[in-house]
């Protein structure tokens, strides 16, 4: 299992577009991928789950990957978050 923290500094928070990109990127992986925010944990492959967290700009989120392709999954997600203006 890999756990990694990010600060989501994108000006609009985790809104539809970045959320959709994140979910689309997560979906092809076999591993169980989740997103933790304010002690709530949701399935990263669920757009409704991710958006229902209402992640605001500047807040800290944790990504958790667990499964055979967890490394590849985490790399991919990290790359995406970085291009969206997140820092670890």
């Amino acid at each position: 299992m890999i756990k990694k923290q990010f600060v989501f500094s994108n000006g609009e928070g985790l809104h539809a577009r970045p959320a959709a990109q994140l979910v689309a990127a997560a979906t092809p992986f076999k591993s169980e991928l989740s997103l933790e925010y304010k002690e709530k944990k949701v399935n990263l492959k669920s757009i409704l789950g991710v958006m229902s967290l209402g992640v605001a700009a500047g807040s800290t989120i944790t990504l958790i990957a667990d499964g055979d392709d967890e490394k590849e999954a985490m790399n991919k997600l990290e790359e995406l978050l970085r291009s969206e203006g997140a820092e670890d």
Binding site: E12, G13, H15, N43, S46, M51
Partner: protein, 571 residues
């Protein structure tokens, strides 16, 4: 019996056709208990896969017909449809509670709808509508009720609807849809903008169209007056048929001028420009013979969203406009918010006199980060065309200097970050306060161009709120006080070799055009639909002849005297 409804004029023109009511399908869901779980899940799977292919088709059509941006909403719908948590919740309910698929879909979706509706962020609250839209689609397949779409229409009609959703509007076929009328929406709503792009006459915000109009009734849509006439009597029908023909004939005549320069009888050339609010508006400006963009109102980029548009989103919008204009001048006005225009996500303290308060450049200088984001996006886009930046509501030289300093600082930062920018961006100002008009000679030395915002210049000169009906008689574009100001501004600019445009209502006004032309205004900027009419008028005027009348016009005492005098010139 003839019945007239009044709405908001959204798209010019007249259409006469039978009414077609676009109903919201009745999707009544009853809770039933089922015994055969696996066949119920099969029903669900089939409904989901039908919904999926339907959405994929709409998404693809939208991409082809419009843009990726318009299609994005359907990609979001597809993600909701495929959401594993939502699907798990539905199947789980069917399996453990032995309920029918319809009920399970509705319950599972409602749970998410209520989560989103309870959120603080207004943008997220709106996402509840996306979930409802998707749920409706799945339910329609489960219940075997077809959702009506504009694609079902096979004859010429006027669409009557409560509102047109994005999935409706992208399916409108202008060959058959002669006009539309909605109960809700305003002149800048998604459907109104689209109607103008497709050149379909439309009236929005009629409030009562769905309640009063029946399928098959004859409807006249007067997109200029914002009127809807239901079951017109023979006399009205003939009158409107004539009007419709005249409109079409006039339009065809004007269309011949689309690619002609605007030259007066005595060989003087002026520029006719378009006012736009979104990148989509450029097409209609070009089609209607606009030579340049005289005003890009960037506030729509901000107003149509529920949070600040990001730098990248703005960059894409500016780039798109500049590329479409292909090197022709494009004047972009920085954010003009405050006064009567608000942003849901920007708290502006309550003011007793918002039009005299923290608005436009004042607000931008007060929210420097927001202003810098816009300038960065503009500078990055500047390499794609001939960008000119214009600051609204400037009152003092200091404000202009401060805005310019921020602009130069943002530019320097980009250059040191090795971002390519255009080195020759002109910086101009809107002239809309008497303070600037009277000091125009001083401003003319520092700015690259002027654009007269006539609506505000009139409001501030006459000290009359243009939203206040009790003092609307003071909105007098032809008042000699206004005309003298305009003359002062134009002369001051020309003395320094700078150009002057006008982007308010006055620039397209048939009475004002001869006066402005005589005073030497260089650029007239207006909505796309007015450009060709203005060109046909200017081509029949002589600048020197009008020039010689200006002294007399400016010596008159009242707006009415000016109006009468201009009318007498026509004869």
């Amino acid at each position: 019996m003839e019945n007239i409804l009044q709405g908001i004029a959204a798209s010019n023109g007249i259409s006469i056709a039978k009414a077609f009511r676009l109903e919201n399908a009745e999707l009544t869901v009853l809770k039933e208990s089922i015994s055969d779980v696996s066949s119920e899940i099969d029903r669900l799977q089939i409904a989901l896969s039908h919904s999926r292919s339907e959405l994929a088709t709409i998404q693809k059509q939208t991409q082809e017909k419009f843009s990726d941006q318009e299609a994005a909403i359907f990609s979001a719908h597809l993600l909701v449809l495929d959401d594993p948590e939502l699907r798990a919740a539905i199947t789980d309910m069917i399996q453990t509670q032995h309920v029918n698929a319809e009920y399970a879909v509705q319950e599972a979706a409602n749970l998410y709808v209520s989560i989103f509706e309870a959120m603080d962020d207004p943008y997220m609250r709106e996402r509840a509508a996306d979930i409802r839209d998707v749920t409706k689609r799945i339910l329609s397949h489960l219940l075997g009720v077809s959702i009506q779409t504009p694609e079902d229409i096979t004859q010429e009609v006027v669409i009557i609807a409560e509102d047109l959703t994005p999935s409706h509007t992208v399916q409108l076929n202008p060959e058959l849809i002669k006009g539309f009328v909605t109960d809700i929406g305003g002149p800048t709503s998604h459907s109104a903008i689209l109607a103008r792009t497709l050149e379909i006459p439309a009236v929005v915000g009629s409030k009562t169209a769905m309640a009063t109009i029946q399928n098959g009734e004859i409807i006249i849509v007067d997109g200029e007056a914002g009127k809807i006439i239901v079951n017109p009597d023979a006399e009205t029908l003939v009158a409107y048929q004539k009007k419709q023909q005249a409109f079409a004939k006039q339009k065809a005549e004007w269309q011949l001028l689309a690619h002609e320069p605007t030259i007066t009888l005595d060989g003087h050339r002026v520029e006719l420009a378009g006012n736009i609010g979104t990148p989509d508006d450029v097409e209609s400006v070009l089609k209607n013979g606009g030579e340049t963009i005289g005003l890009f109102r960037t506030e729509f980029l901000y107003m149509e969203k529920e949070q600040f548009p990001t730098e990248d989103e703005q960059f894409e919008a500016y780039k798109s406009v500049l590329k479409q204009m292909n090197g022709s001048a494009t004047v972009v006005r920085t954010l003009d918010i405050g006064g009567d225009k608000e942003l849901s996500y920007l708290q502006i303290p309550h003011e007793a006199n918002p039009f005299l308060g923290l608005r436009a450049i004042r607000l931008c200088l007060d929210n420097e980060d927001m202003f810098r984001t816009q300038l960065r996006a503009l500078l990055r886009a500047s390499i794609y065309g001939n960008l000119r930046i214009m600051f609204p509501m400037i009152t003092t030289i200091d404000e202009f200097r401060q805005a310019k300093e921020i602009f130069l600082d943002v530019k320097q930062q980009l250059i040191s970050d090795k971002v390519e920018v255009n080195e020759t961006i002109q910086l101009g100002i809107m002239v809309e306060t008497p303070a600037v008009a009277i000091l125009a000679d001083v401003f003319a030395k520092e700015v690259d161009f002027f654009s007269i915002g006539s609506n505000d210049l009139i409001q501030y000169t006459m000290a009359a709120d243009r939203m206040n009906e009790n003092v609307s008689y003071l909105y007098q574009p032809y008042n000699p006080s206004i005309l003298r100001f305009i003359k002062l501004i134009i002369d001051a600019a020309h003395k320094e070799g700078k150009a002057v445009g006008m982007c308010g209502e006055m620039a397209r006004d048939e009475t004002a055009i001869p006066i402005l032309l005589g005073m030497g205004l260089d650029e007239f900027s207006m909505s796309a639909s007015s450009i060709l009419r203005a060109r046909s008028q200017i081509k029949n005027l002589s600048k020197t002849a009008l020039e010689s009348q200006i002294d007399h016009i400016l010596s008159l005492s009242t707006a009415d005297e000016v109006l009468q005098f201009i009318k007498s010139l026509d004869r």
